[in-house]
């Protein structure tokens, strides 16, 4: 018992000693994490001496909600989709940010005006604009290649397995678009029970052909391994596979789902000061622009846009791969954070039981 006691004291001391001058950033893993390490963490550590640890999650909102509810917050900065940031802010779990405290843009524009619409909310500072798109393996389609959301659901014309995320938010809209609902009426439709039924009925038509993914890197893995021929994927991940790794993939921009991600700091963060410092640094003009050098996500600061040039290989222009490119926005579905803040829980319930039932 005595040994145990000494040992545990020693270890507790160790855990405590490790708590100094670091910040734990919970993000989405894979190629996106790499871009954040390069653009935010390394310069941040170089400038401040604070060590930034990256922790990968399928969707950082999930561990954050659980940590808040259990009263056991271990992360300092979380990279969330805006809907989750708003919901958690409503529930009083997050620290609030005053735009006046954020650094002005490189061109001197105050932060409040520098950030694009919807990327600054009470508790969240936007970092990227990104899209969920359909990616496919060109080598699997000798003749006509798929080009629309409807083709994704047409397993007769384009046979092969499909990949979809295990979440209602980035799945139901796709079913409705394929079923003929215009992009701007998606939420009106989803707000009615009939609309939800309609989405699930459409999903039923391909349920047997779907492999469900959870982490953002999985769809590219499934596509590369030939487990699926077509999958929805975060646009930066497929960019990384196509341009970074030279895979024979292509993107269908039709019906892309456009979202804003943001950094938040939970109220009970173990390293609150370092966390705020990190958020201020990472959402500065230059880091946001640098981030786009490694992955095709758009910066949320207007002042960063002119600084975005080519990919890290020095030759690939980033603009055609950005989700915010005008021609990619024609049929895009814009995320509605308030809708999801209210409906995510119940649609997730429905989705889960639909998925479990065979």
């Amino acid at each position: 018992m005595k040994t145990t006691l000494i040992l545990s004291t020693a270890l507790a001391g160790m855990a405590f000693a490790a708590a100094a001058q670091e910040v734990n950033v919970v993000s989405w893993g894979g190629a996106y994490e790499v871009s954040q390490v390069e653009a935010y963490n390394k310069p941040f550590t170089a400038q401040t001496g604070i060590k930034a640890n990256m922790i990968a999650a399928d969707d950082p909102a999930t561990p954050l909600k659980a940590q808040v509810e259990a009263g056991n917050v271990t992360g300092d900065v979380f990279d969330l989709a805006m809907a989750d940031a708003i919901r958690l802010c409503d529930e009083g779990a997050l620290m609030e940010f005053d735009p006046a405290d954020l650094p002005a843009g490189a061109d001197g524009t105050p932060a409040a005006e520098d950030f694009v619409d919807g990327s600054l909310t009470d508790c969240a500072v936007g970092n990227i604009v990104w899209g969920t798109v359909i990616g496919y393996d060109k080598s699997k389609f000798q003749g006509e290649a798929p080009s629309t959301v409807a083709d994704f659901f047409d397993t007769a014309k384009f046979p092969g397995k499909r990949g979809l995320p295990k979440s209602p938010k980035r799945t139901l809209y796709l079913a409705l678009i394929a079923d003929g609902v215009p992009a701007d009426q998606i939420y009106d439709t989803l707000a009615t029970p009939e609309g939800v039924d309609r989405a699930f009925a459409k999903l039923d038509t391909i349920k047997g052909d779907v492999i469900w993914w959870e982490a953002g890197a999985q769809p590219m893995q499934l596509l590369a391994d030939g487990e699926v021929v077509m999958t929805t994927v975060y646009n930066g991940r497929i960019f990384d596979a196509m341009v970074g790794e030279g895979k024979p993939f292509d993107v269908i921009w039709d019906g892309q789902y456009l979202e804003i991600n943001a950094f938040v700091v939970p109220k009970d963060a173990p390293h609150p000061e370092e966390a705020v410092e990190y958020v201020k640094f990472a959402t500065g003009t230059q880091p946001l622009a640098d981030q786009a050098k490694y992955i095709a996500y758009g910066p949320t600061r207007k002042s960063s846009a002119p600084l975005v040039g080519t990919y890290k290989d020095g030759t690939t222009e980033m603009a055609p791969h950005m989700p915010t490119q005008p021609e990619h926005l024609e049929t895009a579905v814009m995320d509605d954070p308030e809708f999801w803040a209210d409906h995510d829980a119940e649609l997730t319930d429905r989705f889960t039981s639909w998925l479990a039932g065979s």
């Binding site: 999930t62 919901r87 409503d90 529930e91 009083g92 391994d225 209210d342 119940e346 039981s353 039932g357």
Partner: protein
């Protein structure tokens, strides 16, 4: 060291202690009492050795599980945050139409809860019983924070017609006391109707019973396959000379000692469409390049990987029983004219039953609770009840539901554990 408390010392010295008819120890105490004392001291000593561990297990294991299971029947998400309407429910029996006092209490609670930012918790609690109502609470909360005027019934139903729904009021009544059996009902696909009676949930929501059935059926199937594969191996190992069997035993023990994640990874590498097995099949011409088999991310993947992982748990107990079977019984049966099949069936096999029982129960118990392997290779059709518990724990955060499912699974496992203890005895559990 002749100690009066040592039973041996006591017995050896009694011979000289005969004075008044009663047996006495050397120092004159009655033997019966001395023996009893030394017995109870020995018991206490033995118990003291076990006590630290017992306390440790109680604190780090038994209490945490008990505390978690408490959530399956205790949820104060509504009652703690909506005190006034909860009080109204306590005063008025089921069947009372909500009067204006009730509506006023509801409005006051909603306002307070929205201010305190607990409205999400309240809505989530009701949403468990009436799917689709969380947004009713959160959106109404946002509106009442801007102000609400009496009459409250009219004001609330104007915000949303759903506030008049009897089903909603019935669910709020249910939730107005923290104790509830609803999560257990939900765990067996049942719910309480507006009048309080119990009925099945809609077909599209009936998933848990199916998942329990699937878990038990797959575990049974895996137990069966491990038996079919494990029996010949155990028999071979038991009948080979020691030196050879020890060598072959390594082939059984190596997987047993290899990390679960390593073995699961191996199966992913082997079974995927561009994986080794499909490559070999295509290369052999068994299947065409376009018809690669889907062996992973479905039930097949779960069954193959779990069989591989659990097979040593079947082989080891079978082997240790088979080692003790005397081969002359089978020879005797053969010499009496039995065919080899009859000798096996009537003489050899019955003697292996204890090992078979031990192995089968152990494999089944472990299979029923599996989580990691189905999560990685199971796709959606290969998910077991443990995966559902994990999902409610980490994704939907419906912890009461997770606890109710865990309680049912735990009950099943403990029952099997009890059977195992009866049949095999926990002391006979062997490793390696």
């Amino acid at each position: 060291m002749a100690n009066a408390l040592d039973p041996h010392a006591a017995i050896t010295t009694t011979a000289s202690g005969l004075t008044d008819g009663a047996l006495r120890t050397a120092d004159g105490k009655p033997l019966a009492r001395a023996l009893a004392r030394s017995q109870s001291l020995a018991r206490r000593r033995a118990f003291l050795l076990v006590l630290p561990l017992l306390a440790f297990i109680l604190i780090t294991f038994v209490i945490p599980i008990g505390q978690m299971l408490q959530r399956s029947f205790y949820n104060d998400g509504f009652s703690a945050n909506m005190p006034q309407i909860s009080a109204w429910f306590a005063e008025n029996p089921r069947g009372t139409e909500p009067d204006e006092a009730a509506w006023a209490a509801l409005a006051a609670d909603l306002t307070a809860s929205a201010e305190a930012r607990t409205i999400g918790v309240v809505g989530t609690r009701i949403n468990y019983d009436v799917p689709g109502t969380r947004s009713l609470f959160t959106s109404t909360g946002r509106q009442v924070r801007r102000g609400i005027e009496p009459p409250y019934q009219a004001a609330l139903t104007e915000i949303n017609q759903d506030w008049a729904s009897p089903r909603l009021w019935s669910a709020m009544r249910e939730a107005s006391t923290p104790m509830t059996a609803n999560f257990y009902l939900a765990a067996v696909d049942r719910k309480r109707a507006e009048d309080g009676s119990i009925q099945q949930v809609e077909p599209r929501q009936q998933v848990y019973v199916m998942l329990f059935m699937r878990t038990f059926w797959l575990s049974l199937l895996i137990t069966g396959i491990t038996f079919v594969l494990g029996f010949p191996i155990a028999h071979l190992l038991a009948t080979l000379p020691m030196r050879k069997s020890n060598l072959l035993m390594i082939l059984v023990l190596l997987p047993f000692w290899t990390s679960l994640l390593v073995r699961t990874t191996s199966w992913m590498v082997l079974l995927q469409q561009q994986g080794v097995i499909n490559d070999i099949l295509v290369w052999l011409g068994v299947i065409g390049g376009g018809q690669r088999l889907q062996m992973i991310y479905n039930q097949t993947g779960t069954i193959i990987a779990m069989t591989h992982i659990l097979l040593p748990f079947m082989i080891l107990p079978l082997y240790s029983v088979m080692r003790t079977i005397n081969p002359s019984y089978v020879r005797a049966a053969r010499s009496l004219g039995a065919t080899s099949w009859t000798a096996f069936r009537r003489v050899y096999f019955p003697q292996t039953l204890p090992g078979l029982g031990a192995g089968a129960l152990l494999v089944f118990i472990l299979a029923v609770g599996y989580y990691i392997t189905p999560a990685l290779v199971g796709g959606s059709s290969g998910q077991l009840i443990s995966n559902m518990i994990a999902m409610h724990m980490t994704d939907t955060l419906n912890w009461s539901m997770a606890a109710a499912l865990a309680a049912l699974l735990l009950a099943a496992v403990l029952l099997l554990y009890w059977v195992y203890d009866r049949m095999v005895g926990i002391d006979n559990l062997k490793l390696g």
